[in-house]
């Protein structure tokens, strides 16, 4: 199956998870909905990355990154940025604490 079709299926799955989460949280007022909305949101975020990378020609013909492009370097930088964001969230959470 063509990768574009696979990506379209994955995008639809992500959006459905997100919308179910939003509906659960705002309509039925279930806290679990917030988590599903986040899960679907991050899934859709991954698909947005996919479409941007695809458009910029960062992907290789057999999958993986095109080694001749700036894709690997950009990915390393983006990876570190996401990692740093995660560490900042973790530090803030540890400072705040978990048990109320």
């Amino acid at each position: 199956m063509d990768i574009a079709v696979q990506a379209a299926i994955l995008t639809i799955v992500g959006l459905i998870i997100h919308l179910i989460g939003v509906a659960l949280y705002f309509v039925i007022k279930q806290r679990k909905g917030l988590f599903l909305a986040l899960l679907g949101g991050l899934w859709t975020f991954a698909m947005i990355i996919f479409y941007i990378y695809d458009k910029l020609g960062f992907y290789g013909p057999m999958g993986g990154l095109q080694q001749e492009s700036v894709g690997p370097a950009i990915t390393t930088i983006v990876g570190f940025i996401i990692l740093i964001i995660g560490v900042i969230i973790a530090v803030r959470l540890v400072r705040r604490g978990g048990v109320k």
Partner: protein
């Protein structure tokens, strides 16, 4: 320290060192025989000798169990040690949602940072960030395991490995974190029992389970995904076991030993957060 704890400590250290030595030997074996000669790797031998049909059946059973467990957990229930399905006591409050986000960001970011080093173009790469997967399950429970899943999915997109196969990777990575969370009785990394349990469940069993789970998915969807079945079982499955276990046997226990006290002290350890 009494004799018995000293003996137990010695036993736990020996078990840990044996697992580390095993995977260092496998690394040496892969390097000396070459990445292209995967059919000669020691770790590939059980897969090649027992054959695709055998592994497809075994992995199929594990796939069904893993998928059921995943959906039980995300629907707010859990399986007890007595095999009863009961309501999970995860609060799903702002802290749990933040834990999902931070686990996804740290795991996905650390995997993507090394994404430029492909091993099987299109399917896997060198992944030292794998050391974090069991740790997030052990420290944060289900929210940490789900963060690991979504982190792997984001990393797939950033590194050019995103396909329908990523759905297998999504649940496969959940399993790496879920098994030690669920099956270890002592998550502290501070007792012989904790160390032994970690090496059995967190380092070895979870790596094998994850590899079989994803491999079954890739095999079953071969017409859609396109990775040849011989490559799935002869190369991909043993490589995923090795790629996970080499870091989960060496780096994760050290990280766990360092991170457990602050996480526990700040009330973020999953057992202290149950409703």
């Amino acid at each position: 320290m009494s004799r018995k704890p000293a003996g137990l400590w010695a036993l736990s250290i020996v078990i840990g060192l044996l697992f580390i030595a095993l995977f260092i030997y496998i690394a040496y074996d892969i390097v000396t025989k070459g990445l292209q000669n995967w059919s000669e790797w020691v770790i590939s031998a059980p897969f090649i000798k027992l054959g695709r049909d055998f592994w497809f059946v075994i992995a199929g059973i594990l796939w069904i169990i893993g998928t059921i467990l995943f959906f039980i957990e995300i629907s707010g229930y859990t399986l007890t040690r007595g095999f009863k399905i009961v309501k999970n006591r995860v609060k799903w409050d702002a802290v749990d949602v933040t834990v999902v986000a931070l686990s996804a960001a740290i795991y996905g970011g650390s995997l993507a940072a090394t994404g430029g080093l492909p091993i099987i173009p299109g399917f896997t790469w060198l992944r030292p960030g794998n050391s974090l997967a069991p740790l997030f399950g052990i420290l944060f429970g289900v929210p940490g395991a789900l963060g690991t899943s979504i982190g792997n999915f984001i990393a797939d997109a950033l590194t050019g490995y995103l396909s329908i196969g990523s759905i297998g990777g999504f649940i496969g990575n959940f399993i790496i974190a879920y098994i030690p969370y669920k099956l270890m009785t002592d998550h502290s990394f501070r007792t012989p029992r904790s160390i032994i349990e970690y090496y059995i469940w967190g380092a070895v069993i979870s790596s094998i389970y994850c590899a079989l789970y994803i491999s079954w998915w890739l095999d079953a969807l071969e017409p859609v995904i396109g990775l040849p079945r011989a490559l799935v079982w002869g190369w991909f499955a043993p490589w995923v076991i090795f790629n996970n276990a080499i870091v989960t046997t060496t780096i994760t226990p050290i990280l766990g030993y360092i991170l457990y006290p602050p996480i526990k002290m700040r009330g973020l350890f999953w057992k202290d957060r149950l409703a």
